[in-house]
């Protein structure tokens, strides 16, 4: 049941988290654009888009610092500070991974063969999907911590489950891309560069999944016990 005066007593940290995840989401699209631009020979804006990602990462960092520095005193939070910060850290790593991938790509002008393009696009698509789910997860979790309804909890759990599934899909895409790299590419440096790129791109989804796991812990039911189990 919705307790009417709850908002006076409890402060929700989820507005801050939502702002942060919006930056992550936006960054993921810029990341996708940058990759598409890199692959397309005509596009000359890769560096511009990389800068956009860097800028978004820096904006997200500011939000992160604001959340950390403005934990209200005197009111109760629905989750512990430790849980909140761990979650935030993982959500931030999603962004770091995207930024890292673009930086890695910029270190060497490796040509991506046309036969490999589709796999790269599919991998990028696959890693962006869980990020988009993260945004919705935060909104739903916010509502859960306001109502504590079992139904809402189930919705959040479903999203976490989706993220997991999407991460598995991303892993599969990463595997397919690696196979393609080894079958097409002959130059060892290019192979190293591209395989490492695939792993870095794949790690974006891994961090989104980790963030989902953290959320799972946050929404776990608490049971009152007299004695801690040893």
């Amino acid at each position: 049941m919705h307790f009417p005066f709850r908002s006076i007593l409890v402060t929700s940290p989820f507005d801050g988290l939502r702002n942060h995840v919006e930056k992550v989401r936006e960054c993921s699209w810029a990341f996708q654009q940058a990759i598409e631009c890199y692959i397309s020979d005509k596009c000359e804006e890769f560096d511009v888009l990389r800068e956009v990602v860097n800028k978004l990462e820096s904006d997200a960092d500011s939000i992160k610092r604001r959340i950390r520095g403005h934990i209200p005193k005197g009111t109760r939070m629905p989750v512990t500070e430790y849980q909140l910060f761990s979650y935030l850290k993982e959500q931030d790593r999603v962004l770091d991974a995207a930024q890292d991938s673009l930086n890695w790509l910029s270190y060497r002008a490796t040509h991506i063969p046309e036969a490999m393009e589709k796999e790269v696009f599919l991998l990028v698509d696959a890693v962006i999907e869980p990020i988009e789910e993260l945004s919705r997860m935060i909104s739903e979790a916010k509502e859960y911590f306001e109502t504590y309804s079992e139904k809402q909890r189930r919705i959040v759990k479903d999203i976490i489950h989706n993220i997991k599934q999407q991460e598995h899909e991303a892993d599969a895409r990463e595997g397919q891309l690696k196979v393609k790299i080894f079958s097409i590419e002959k130059d060892p440096v290019s192979i190293f560069h591209l395989v490492s790129l695939a792993e870095r791109i794949g790690s974006v989804a891994d961090h989104a999944e980790n963030a989902g796991d953290m959320m799972r812990a946050m929404i776990a039911k608490r049971r009152w016990t007299l004695f801690r189990e040893s």
Binding site: E26, Q33, E132, D158
Partner: protein, 752 residues
């Protein structure tokens, strides 16, 4: 007795709440004309109304008969019974008025309190009769049935009389002044000012100051017997004064008339309606004091309450102060005022109420009757009248903040004059009229006469009026029933019931507060979208870019939720997305209205640019409609208990959602931040979505061939695909228009 002292304290606290909710509802009676015509800045109007309230409270002798003996005969009741009755009444009153305020519907606080007293008194009387073993028919001995009947008659009378006089007087006044009234003001200022202020002065004497301590009974009798003399003298005095003002100064004489009228109505309200809010608690206190002085306080008869009791002036002043503070602070008071003002608004625009069969039928009938009766009027006369009352060219005076007034000062002054005259006349004839009903119906009558309810708005306005009038009957019914039930509960469960009901009331008030706040935020958002105050095409275009961006973002969020609900076949969530889609649809209407405004501001010579910009209308409407259609069809599907999608279909829809929301979000970011449009990226996403749609359509055909998917499920699947594709295509079109606009702007900036 300490338990009853506790009851008196609760009554006193409820009085404070009742004053707040009561003023919030009744403020519209005296604020409507001045706020609607924007005769002065809001704070000036508030100061004048506040002074009127304080004057009304100070001069009021505070006779609170209605609460003590108006509805029931106190000699038949003991103090505990009266406490039960009063507590039930106050709890109901706070609850009921707050409910009306939340929905912004004006109602009569007098009708409310009278029917609550009636309901609670009937309940307690029946219980007494039951205990005594008498016939239930004897209940009429306990109740003042004549008063209740006269109030019901008052509702009907005030509705008809006020509306009729509102229509007629406004029609005649408009014939004289026309909509271009400034030109004729010098000529008619004296007559009009004299007429208006003589009626208002008489109203102050009859209604505002009838219970004033400074007027002796002899003076009141003199006023009643010298009506015409007062009217003639004041007419002459004010006519000369106003004619001189019009001839030798630049003062718009309608302004003082409206402000004095506001003061008079506020004063009458405070003097007469205060009883509705604090009458019952004061009666409770009196009952407690009377009982305390007897040997057997719990069994003593309350006959002493039949005697007139002078209220404490200090308490009246405190009540006045609470009323004034509420008037300034209450957001709900603004909502109620807004309802009445928007129903009488001269111009078109977004309407607050929808359309209903009843209103359509009524408008159709009236329209038919007018069309037929036109033939009876000679053409020359018809032309002359039409020429004088034609509001066609009327645009309303644009004020300092760039927004026009809802109606002009002529109508505002007619509202006040007619309302004052009808109330004074009815009071002198001892007819019970509700101030709320009179002022509301006069306002509606004058707006009808001014053709504010044109063919573009009549149906919606009539729905609004019917809703408000329906609310008045609901007030009586709900007040009676709720007070009846509350009295029964308190009678049997005593203190426990009081605590429980107080908690219930607090909970409900908190809930309605939250609801109202949300509604206010939504309304604020819509109002913020309005381009009423924007006069430059460039600013208008920039603003509409931004608004469209937010609009697309909301659609994207809602589509995200929709697909999730669809996936989990969650009907409750689907309904939530449908109600969100309805809000978004309204939002789209506002943005479309703004685009019209922008089109009117754009350079008429630049036909290509203007023409291209007009495409956004079609695109925005299509996006909103496809969004709505997709959700409504899905809701209906699940509401009819049809089967959900197969796993393979769900998987495909998930992909569609990903691309669609991404597309919308990206477009939104570009528009809201005025980022340079990366059209290729969006086109790419659109292309992907198109390919996916075509691929999934083929898959669906295969499923149909394999008899895997039922007909309804297939129809819905195709509908979702089609609508998603439509949204993406129109978003792309929209972006193309904005991109061109941005390119032009960027070029212009770089050149400069």
């Amino acid at each position: 007795m300490s338990l009853f002292l506790f009851a008196v304290i609760i009554l006193a606290s409820l009085a404070v709440f009742d004053l707040i909710v009561g003023v919030s509802n009744d403020a519209v009676n005296f604020l409507n004309s001045s706020i609607g015509s924007r005769v002065a800045p809001r704070h000036v109007i508030m100061v004048i109304a506040g002074l009127g309230i304080l004057a009304g409270v100070t001069f009021s002798s505070g006779m609170m008969e209605v609460a003590r003996k108006g509805i029931f005969h106190p000699r038949f009741f003991t103090m505990p019974e009266l406490m039960t009755l009063f507590l039930a009444v106050m709890l109901t009153d706070v609850l009921l008025l707050d409910l009306f305020n939340t929905f912004g519907l004006p109602t009569s606080t007098t009708v409310s309190i009278v029917f609550e007293l009636l309901g609670a008194a009937v309940a307690v009387s029946l219980l007494k009769i039951h205990v005594a073993g008498d016939s239930y028919a004897t209940v009429v001995e306990y109740i003042n049935t004549a008063k209740a009947f006269s109030i019901i008659m008052g509702i009907l009378l005030s509705v008809v009389i006020a509306f009729f006089f509102g229509v007629v007087c406004q029609f005649v006044t408009r014939l004289v002044f026309t909509f271009d009234y400034q030109k004729r003001l010098k000529r008619y200022s004296g007559v009009w000012g004299g007429l208006a202020l003589s009626i208002i002065t008489y109203f102050i004497l009859i209604k505002g100051a009838k219970g004033a301590s400074f007027l002796t009974p002899e003076t009141v009798i003199w006023v009643n017997t010298h009506t015409w003399m007062i009217l003639y003298t004041s007419f002459l005095f004010f006519a000369i004064l106003f004619q001189l003002l019009a001839l030798f100064t630049q003062i718009n004489v309608l302004k003082p008339i409206v402000l004095i009228g506001t003061f008079a109505l506020a004063m009458a309200f405070a003097g007469n309606d205060l009883v509705n809010f604090i009458g019952v608690p004061l009666a409770g206190m009196n009952a407690y004091n009377v009982a305390s002085e007897t040997i057997n306080p719990l069994m003593a008869s309350m006959e002493a309450l039949q005697q007139p009791i002078q209220s404490n002036t200090f308490l009246l002043l405190v009540a006045g102060a609470i009323m004034v503070i509420t008037l300034w602070m209450s957001r709900k008071a603004r909502t109620v005022t807004q309802t009445e003002v928007s129903l009488g608004r001269q111009d078109e625009g977004v309407e607050r109420f929808g359309s209903s069969t009843l209103s359509r039928t009524l408008v159709g009938m009236v329209y038919g009757a007018f069309s037929s009766s036109r033939r009876l009027i000679p053409i020359s006369l018809r032309k002359t009248i039409s020429g004088r009352i034609d509001p066609g060219e009327y645009r309303g005076e644009i004020l300092a903040d760039g927004r026009p007034a809802s109606f002009d000062l002529v109508r505002a002054s007619v509202n006040l004059i007619v309302a004052s005259a009808v109330i004074s006349f009815a009071t002198s004839l001892k007819l019970p009229l509700s101030t709320t009903y009179v002022t509301f119906m006069v306002a509606m009558g004058t707006s009808l006469s001014d053709q504010a309810w044109g063919r573009e708005s009549a149906v919606y306005r009539v729905t609004g009026v019917m809703t408000v009038i329906g609310g008045w009957f609901f007030t009586a019914l709900a007040a009676f029933t709720t007070a009846f039930v509350f009295a029964l509960i308190i009678y049997y469960l005593e203190a426990l019931a009081v605590v429980g009901l107080v908690l219930l009331v607090v909970f409900l008030i908190w809930t309605t507060y939250q609801y109202h706040r949300k509604k206010e935020e939504e309304r604020g958002r819509i109002e913020a979208l309005s381009l009423d105050t924007v006069c430059e095409a460039d600013t208008a275009i920039q603003t509409s870019f931004e608004q469209t961006g937010h609009f697309l973002r909301d659609i994207s969020d809602n589509i995200g939720l929709f697909y999730q609900a669809l996936h989990s076949e969650d009907l409750e969530r689907l309904r939530k997305t449908r109600s969100e889609a309805e809000k978004i649809q309204k939002w789209a209407d506002t943005i479309v209205e703004n685009i019209f405004k922008t089109l009117s501001l754009l350079n008429k010579g630049d036909m290509d640019g203007t023409h291209q910009y007009s495409y956004t209308l079609r695109d925005l409407q299509s996006i909103a409609e496809s969004h709505m259609n997709m959700i409504t069809r899905t809701c209906e599907h699940f509401e009819n208990y049809h089967a959900g999608f197969l796993d393979s279909q769900k998987q495909e829809l998930r992909q569609i959602k990903t691309f669609l929301t991404r597309l919308l979000w990206n477009t939104s970011i570009m528009l809201t931040r005025r980022k340079r449009v990366d059209y290729d990226y969006i086109t790419n996403q659109c292309e992907k979505l198109k390919n996916l749609t075509s691929e999934f359509s083929k898959n669906q055909v295969r499923r149909i061939q394999r008899a895997e998917s039922k007909i309804r499920r297939s129809m819905l699947f195709f509908a979702i695909l089609e609508n998603s594709l439509s949204i993406s295509e129109h978003t792309q079109n929209l972006l193309a228009v904005f991109r061109d606009s941005f390119d032009v702007r960027t070029c212009e900036q770089s050149e400069s």
